[in-house]
């Protein structure tokens, strides 16, 4: 028999043990079928490619070097791999532009929703959420139809005489940008709305009382108050854009590759699994770095950004 405090401690220890048991199935499934296999990718990135795909179990740093460099077939010297760099550049650039575009358009949209009367607000929110929960492939396909040469955008342009021939939009960087912005727009609006909803408009009123104009109120009061939403929305749009696969595949048509398509290529026609693995790890590292910066940013601002 122990003392009361000992018994209490034992009960708590049992409670914690039960809690681990209870969460074990979820943790094991995620470990086995999502996160654990990432270590295999890491290992593969240090191996030699096999002739018909897969790998040969022989250590080689070549995959990591060829993320950025290429070896000349004849004299064996290394130089920057322009093709790889241009794909990296396209991925980062398009993701940044997507983030910027959705922010510029999403900010007024979220503000509009947040300033609606409470009863209609839910309907507007619902209208933003619906496209988000419908299939990403279908939404990308929808964009493809609209901007194709025979699509309604070109029909409007030629019909009104702005251009006499349809403009080739499909299979360009512009198409990918448009598609990414279209499919990830709700991911920007929702966190923006969440932070704007909490804005105390008496602060805005005070701003006007102190002779601020609309622009000043926007810049000095509303934007700073919406900052957690701006940061969260930007992260939520930037990260999936960087790893996008479906949208650049459908709208880039295999001509304009982004990192996700380039990785797939290594496991398909490229038959260079180690390079695919090292590229995957690079993508993962960039994403984790972005997330880490985000967590650092919100932690520094303290608890007021949560909830």
């Amino acid at each position: 028999m122990g003392t009361a405090s000992e018994i209490a401690r034992r009960i708590e220890a049992k409670d914690i043990r039960d809690r681990w048991l209870l969460s074990a199935p979820a943790l094991i499934i995620i470990a086995l079928c999502a996160i654990g296999p990432l270590t295999i990718v890491f290992v593969y990135s240090f191996l030699t490619p096999g002739d018909y795909g897969d790998v040969v179990w022989k250590f080689s740093p070549d995959a990591w070097i060829s993320v950025l460099f290429q070896r000349d077939i004849f004299d064996g010297t290394w130089s920057f791999a322009d093709a790889h760099l241009s794909i990296f550049w396209r991925s980062v650039w398009l993701s940044l532009m997507t983030t910027l575009l959705t922010l510029v358009l999403g900010f007024p949209t979220a503000y509009f929703i947040a300033t609606r009367p409470e009863r209609t607000r839910e309907i507007w929110l619902f209208l933003i959420t619906i496209p988000f929960w419908t299939n990403l492939l279908i939404r990308t396909f929808a964009i493809q139809e609209v901007i194709r040469n025979e699509g309604i955008v070109n029909a409007l342009l030629t019909g009104t005489g702005i251009t006499d021939r349809p403009i080739q939009m499909l299979y360009t960087d512009f198409a990918i940008l448009l598609g990414l912005a279209y499919v990830y727009f709700p991911l920007m609006v929702l966190p923006l709305y969440a932070s704007m909803e909490k804005i105390d408009f008496r602060l805005v009123e005070a701003g006007y009382d102190l002779y601020a104009n609309r622009w000043k109120v926007l810049r000095r009061i509303i934007i700073p108050l919406a900052k957690p939403g701006i940061v969260a929305g930007s992260i939520l749009v930037f990260i999936p854009s960087l790893g996008a696969y479906v949208t650049p595949r459908v709208l880039g048509g295999g001509v304009k590759l982004m990192l996700g398509n380039f990785i797939e290529l290594q496991f398909g026609q490229g038959r260079n699994w180690p390079l695919g693995a090292s590229l995957s790890m690079t993508l993962l590292a960039i994403v984790l770095a972005a997330l880490f910066m985000y967590i650092h940013f919100t932690a520094r601002r303290g608890g007021n950004t949560h909830g």
Binding site: L22, A26, A34, I35, W124, E145, G243, Y245, S280, V287
Partner: protein, 269 residues
């Protein structure tokens, strides 16, 4: 009085409503176009030739489409049910407690599939599962169900956890005081209260599984197309309004589920 308030609304920012309404319009324009052309009687997805249901009929008579749809639903049902069950247990284990060691790590780990880019997980599973396929000789739907379950868990977990956090332990304590066993207390008290959260989690998981393209595309064996991977394959070819018809039905299904979800979660608050 009313007029002056109307003339100066502190919440107003000029141009914002115009931009917002334009965005809403642009958000629905491509989807609307897609749906309209599903009813086109011609073979083009851009030139309107009259109203007809022939493409819905064509899709209905296309064995590959039906086959892929049934497989999608089968995978999504299995994955959503398993994911929701384990997510419910995990949510109970990670809420309504004093912080204990590993709690934050657990929380982070459960949400990890949301953060890692899908293509990276897809590649990892391609390598891992191809090894197992060779080793065991099994190449059935189990791999797809397992993979889908894993990335559905965080989606099922979040609404259940949110629901649990609004419930305090006093009712369960009362049940225990009245000599209910922990299982009875769970069945009779916790579960009925938690039900809206579980239902929301189940629906989210189902929709997420149904929508998946990337991981399925990498994990599937030959002849295991789901509806999204079948459509992705078709987009490479000349597209007929049959694709629009399939998309329209798919859209309706998603919207129906989301609408139910919306009302279930609204009743909650």
């Amino acid at each position: 009085m009313a007029r002056s308030r109307h003339a100066f609304d502190v919440r107003h920012q000029s141009g914002f409503p115009t931009i917002a309404l334009t965005c809403f319009f642009l958000l629905y324009l491509p989807i609307a176009t897609l749906v309209v052309y599903a009813f086109n009687s011609g073979t083009s997805i851009a030139t309107w030739e009259g109203l007809s249901l022939r493409w819905f009929q064509a899709a209905w008579n296309n064995d590959k489409v039906i086959d892929a749809s049934l497989r999608s639903i089968q995978i999504a049902t299995c994955a959503a049910v398993i994911a929701t069950a384990v997510a419910t247990m995990a949510a109970i284990a990670t809420t309504r407690t004093r912080p204990y060691r590993g709690l934050n790590a657990k929380y982070a780990f459960i949400n990890m599939p949301l953060m890692v880019p899908e293509i990276v997980v897809a590649v990892a599973l391609l390598i891992f599962f191809s090894r197992i396929k060779v080793a065991t000789g099994y190449s059935g739907l189990g791999y797809l169900i397992a993979a889908h379950t894993a990335f559905c868990i965080p989606f099922a977990y979040l609404p259940i956890r949110a629901r649990l956090e609004t419930m305090d332990l006093s009712l369960e304590t009362a049940a225990a005081d009245l000599y209910a066993s922990p299982w009875q207390a769970f069945r009779r008290v916790t579960l009925p209260l938690l039900w809206p959260g579980i239902l929301a989690g189940l629906m989210l998981a189902f929709v997420i599984s149904l929508d998946d393209v990337v991981i399925t595309e990498f994990v599937k064996s030959g002849g295991q197309d789901t509806l999204p991977t079948y459509m992705l394959g078709q987009l490479r070819r000349v597209v007929t309004p049959e694709m629009n018809a399939i998309s329209t039905v798919f859209l309706l299904l998603s919207i129906a589920i989301v609408t139910i979800f919306f009302f279930v979660s609204r009743k909650r608050s």
